[in-house]
Point group: C2
Chain length 459, copies 2
């Protein structure tokens, strides 16, 4: 335990402390495995048991940060000392702590590329490594993949609802802490947003940073028009004005006085659908047909679809809270389960039998079948060595601890999502999820499960 | 924009990059203020407009990380260069960027101590500084305070529902990214949890790290009892066994064979209320009355209250997803609004007039009145210089950029919450929020608002 130095703590993560950015039981279990010489080659798969409510598909995201973590995990002396002194470890031998000091991940990692459309029970990541190496990474891996996948999926729904109009991530202030804001910006961009208000994410990832102006700017002035002029003065090519501080219609009329260089206006309160039509008319009548209207104010995919159905004149949507917290379904229940072990040269499939939480055993692959028009038709979850006339979604990412995969840029991933979403038939994109995409398991996988259940395979 | 080096990116925050961990418009606005010489002494207040659904109170949290940020914010040459090269800043003078290189926060900060019970519209933080200094910190401040306050409040409900039984944070894997896991662990502990599974949070903050064992441990063995024995072997004083991997009742019976040194068992699936009673009997009949039963599996305050009402024999609850995402209401709408400026020596109150989003002007204080038994009776939000026979909740934290407040440990904050919750009458703790705590605004504050609305004060 660190002593209280009276200095406020940052609670930042870094490459040194991620080794203990995990659940205690991962560390006690690996100590237990070590002490009992249990370190068989083991395979774990990360998947989502059931699609969350109101989701008919997921967009896989977060692999880049997962790989960063796995490629860099190590235990410096400082952290080993901390663990050694925890009472729970008092019966654990020094050998274990020496092992930790030399620890690095030397296993294999397979994953679906970021931006892949996935469904329930489909492995997003497959890890084959010594039991200890595979176990230790569980919690961090889940926390990265669960969140980014949740948000990329939500963003793709919002972008779908916006039907060709632009969507911008404005969510940083409501994300679950500062790092969540950055991760959300990444996932939203992957899901199809055109940019983010988060400058750090923009810089790190090459996402366009986008912003307008806040009410405090307008309120810092006695006069609304003076505030507009002064803003235009400093940002002549980026004059997007917030016009609802006092009265949206009056604000719109004042904004037109900026003239042809006005780039856009933002509506942030009131009946935005109605106001957008009136503001559009005011702009058009002033000869400012090129001026864009941005809307914000607790938007989500449902509201956006409704606004557009009612003929709202909106060119871009600034979406925050609802997108970066995935507010209608704010957690993704990804799990990471042991599916196979090699014991004395023998491959032993593993599965959890408890009724509600049964898992599929063995190393698996997702086989995706396309129809004649190249659209997604159905998936089969099968064993890795099956041969189907289908796309195989899991690809090698790391071999023996080394990266064997070219990490794409977020721009490339966004393109992948665009392409994939165009191949997902429209009925599966319905915001109310009326139709489930067909996913079955292969005959061979079924057989393995039957053998385990009937006791023909020890597990 | 950073070039893609092909190296996977961590997306960690640190003391250098927090300066741009903000919304772009904060940076454009401060550039605008700078260029127009607008840098009056200004006061902003951070508050929550409406309590979220299903919440009748909030527990303020996150001040320590907010203070860390404010005390350390600076712009290194690297970040100034990045901003300078953004096209949006092309008309901004070099003087502004020189100003940024010398930037530090030199203002005053008032806040309610972490662990304070607060309600809608009550200022949690009040910042008085130059307009630029006060503006630049908005987004980061909100992202810290919104999340930790959301989670401390949720945790306090879960702890209330557990009615004296222990609650442990198990949520890291479902929190919104790795840092959210650490921040959640802190907020949950503040809210009354006895510990966390998050080892990094435990180390940084001195919170007890708590863990049992996962299904993968049991599944790594062919034989369930052998897995129990081996675990006990390495952790003789911390043997808490997960007994539901195959069959909870059989698992419980096997666990009793460990004998008197068995510390606890964990139930993670099935009808936990029913199973807990049967398991309790099995343990008691084996003479293991001291062995504790822990329950987990998507628990929340509603389920816990229901389980206990039905007589569940549970000593501690491991709560994850629902607590760390505040799943029933996953975002807190904290805002940060300009309330006052000093212009040429004259104090000018500021308020936003738009109907739905009206704000209260002027520097404010929360006055909390106690009844004869020392319980919370009502709050009045008033001007800072009013005199009431009441507790004044906002306290000085920083003056002229220097910390003037002793940052408490999380243990101390937890004690504060305990004391405060004991002073909040029980009717306001009802999980279904049937009664609203009385909060009004003072006559003097009302007068200021009336004067502004009638145009007697320029604003």
């Amino acid at each position: 335990m660190k002593k209280n130095t009276g200095k406020p703590k940052s609670l930042f993560l870094d490459d040194a402390n991620t080794c203990i950015s995990t659940d205690l039981y991962q560390l006690t279990m690996i100590a237990g495995y070590f002490e009992h010489g249990i370190n068989h080659k083991s395979t774990f798969e990360l998947f989502v048991r059931d699609l969350p409510e109101r989701r008919s598909y997921l967009i896989a995201a977060g692999l880049e940060q997962a790989v960063h973590y796995i490629a860099n995990i190590s235990f410096t002396a400082e952290y080993v000392k901390y663990l050694k002194e925890l009472p729970v470890f008092k019966n654990v031998s020094n050998k274990f702590f020496n092992y930790l000091e030399d620890f690095s991940f030397k296993g294999d990692l397979y994953a679906v590329p970021e931006g892949t459309v996935i469904f329930a029970n489909e492995p997003i990541i497959r890890v084959t490594a010594s039991m200890i190496e595979a176990q230790i990474i569980e919690t961090y891996l889940l926390s990265i993949i669960n969140y980014q996948t949740l948000i990329a999926s939500k963003a793709s729904r919002v972008v779908f609802a916006a039907d060709g109009r632009k969507v911008i991530d404005f969510g940083t202030r409501r994300a679950h802490g500062p790092q969540a804001g950055v991760l959300a910006a990444r996932a939203c961009y992957i899901g199809g947003c055109v940019g983010t208000s988060n400058v750090l994410a923009a810089r790190e990832l090459g996402i366009p940073p986008i912003g307008t102006v806040a009410h405090s700017w307008i309120m810092a002035y006695g006069d609304e028009y003076e505030s507009f002029q002064d803003f235009h003065n400093v940002f002549p090519d980026n004059t997007v004005l917030l016009i609802d501080t006092y009265d949206t219609i009056k604000g719109a009329k004042l904004a037109t006085k900026i003239g042809m260089k006005l780039k856009g206006v933002r509506l942030d309160s009131g009946n935005i659908t109605l106001l957008s039509k009136r503001v559009r008319r005011i702009l058009d009548e002033a000869g400012l047909g090129h001026v864009k209207i941005t809307a914000s104010s607790d938007l989500n995919e449902y509201k956006i679809a409704q606004m557009l159905a009612k003929g709202a004149c909106i060119d871009s949507f600034g979406v925050g809270t609802e997108m970066v917290t995935s507010k209608d379904t704010p957690a993704l229940g990804g799990v990471y389960k042991l599916v196979e072990q090699e014991i004395k040269g023998k491959v032993v499939p593993k599965m959890k039998l408890s009724k509600e939480k049964e898992t599929y055993p063995s190393k698996k692959q997702i086989y995706r079948f396309l129809n004649k028009r190249g659209l997604y038709k159905k998936d089969i979850i099968g064993l890795v060595d099956e041969e189907f006339d289908a796309e195989e979604l899991l690809q090698p990412i790391m071999k023996k601890g080394k990266l064997v995969y070219k990490i794409p840029t977020v721009k490339q991933i966004q393109k992948t999502v665009e392409k994939n979403m165009s191949r997902l038939p429209k009925k599966f994109k319905d915001l109310n999820c009326k139709t489930a995409y067909p996913v079955t398991i292969s005959r061979r996988l079924k057989k393995v499960m039957e053998k385990i259940k009937s006791g023909h395979i020890a597990f």
